[in-house]
Amino acid sequence: MTTSPTRIQVNPSVPGDGRPDYIRIQDYGFWYGAKKALDAITLDIPERQVTAFIGPSGCGKSTLLRNLNRMNDLIDAVRHEGDITVGGRSIYDPTVEVISLRRRVGMVFQKSNPFPKSIYENVVYSLRVAGVSDRDILDETCESSLRRAALWDEVKDRLQDSALGLSGGQMQRLCIARAIANQPEILLMDEPCSALDPIATGKIEELIHHLKAQFTIVIVTHSMQQAARVSDRTAFFYLGKLVEADRTEKIFMNPAQSQTEAYISGRFG
């Protein structure tokens, strides 16, 4: 008898859980050339919650994150099997425009990457690219995005200053504001705090906590403490496979798999 990969079900008894699965990853495999990076991943990600991907380096967590908006398509000789759907529609549907997918699925990177422009122009960049020139719309988007990224009060009096003059933590929040300005449905965050001090990290985590009311957030982090603090659900990956995914509280208090227990308690390897 063959068994299909276990679908991770949402536990309806958990407050805030039981939301519809917004991203569905189904029997998904991914190759860089001949190297298989992801193996038969099946995972549902509920909307408007924070889902953390954890695991040792090379486990595939960043690869999977980057496939959620097809960022890895930019790399030569990659291929996949299985499917990923967002809001019920496959991201590999031939009619899906990758640019529009990436507008719906925004990304914040490990290292903040503001453009060498003013704070204002960084936030409204995507609107400019889309041809929006109405000053009222641009101003409104700039302010609302910076407010939602908890940066407005710190920069409202110097919007025309260069973004490169901001602190590391402010730059990262600016990048979040820029992603928000696109009005995405999903925010992908790849180690967003790895280069930040504890205070700046705390501010980003607070921001993530508030943003989940509006966005579905998936975060890759090497910090188990961060995953524990910010996420509602956690998925543990090892050697390209999904070992276990569940409510974060369950994963860190009483995981079902011995590999997960070994990893979170530092007894790995």
């Binding site: 705390g202 501010k203 524990a228 603090r229 509280e249 208090m253």
Partner: protein, 217 residues
């Protein structure tokens, strides 16, 4: 910087305070039931124990969740460790009060007992000690917490006096009436409530000052 998860510490404190109020109610009502021979009240006290047990489990879950997920440090660690001990002491207080109510019913079933020795006074002191211990926790009052350590000695003395008074009256233990045997157990239960109040005060001292004053004479 106030973090979103600090709200969970506030919830934990609230649950502990609620548990303290319930345990204190049970202690006071158990004494009233005994003094007035009020079976209905005694049954009410017995029925309150499950609620405290549920609160104990909830507080335990909250502590475990916070320790696991939020990496507490400093005073937050002391609060969580202290809260765990306080919570278990309160659950034991509720058990003692429930036991007192059960023995009250037994005494009442055999006919009213006119002489309750010094048990009412001991019970009032035990309830006052518990109240003061919880107040010291709520108010963060170190002096009040330290005061309870002394008050416990008076409760111990009354418990001993109750036992000796019965012995002196009866000549030997074999002649003590069954109802008075129950009363001695009740006296011991209030003495234990005093001990638990003292334990709570010791945890409050640890929480506020970091000083471990347990097992000091």
């Amino acid at each position: 910087m106030q973090r979103y998860f600090h709200e969970e510490l506030r919830q934990l404190r609230d649950d502990l305070v609620l548990m303290g109020e319930r345990a204190l109610d049970m202690t006071r009502l158990s004494l009233k039931a005994l003094e007035e021979g009020d079976d209905k009240l005694a049954l009410q006290v017995r029925g309150m124990d499950d609620g405290v047990d549920d609160l104990e489990k909830r507080v335990d879950r909250e502590i475990m969740r916070y320790l696991t997920l939020f990496g507490p440090m400093g005073g937050d660690v002391r609060l969580l460790l202290g809260a765990r001990d306080i919570c278990h002491d309160l659950e034991r207080v509720a058990d003692e009060a429930s036991g007192i109510a059960r023995r009250s019913l037994t005494i009442s079933g055999r006919g009213p007992l006119k002489d309750l020795l010094m048990v009412p006074e001991e019970g009032r002191l035990a309830a006052a000690a518990l109240r003061a211990a919880m107040d010291s926790f709520i108010e963060g009052d170190l002096a009040k917490a330290k005061g309870i350590l002394e008050a416990d000695k008076e409760i111990d003395r009354l418990n001993k006096e109750n036992y000796l008074a019965l012995l002196g009256r009866s000549g030997d233990t074999a002649r003590i009436s069954p109802s008075h045997v129950e009363l001695i157990f009740i006296s011991k239960a209030y003495e234990r409530i005093g001990d638990h109040s003292k334990n709570i005060a010791e945890q409050v001292i640890f929480l506020l000052s970091g000083e471990d004053v347990r097992h000091q004479r």
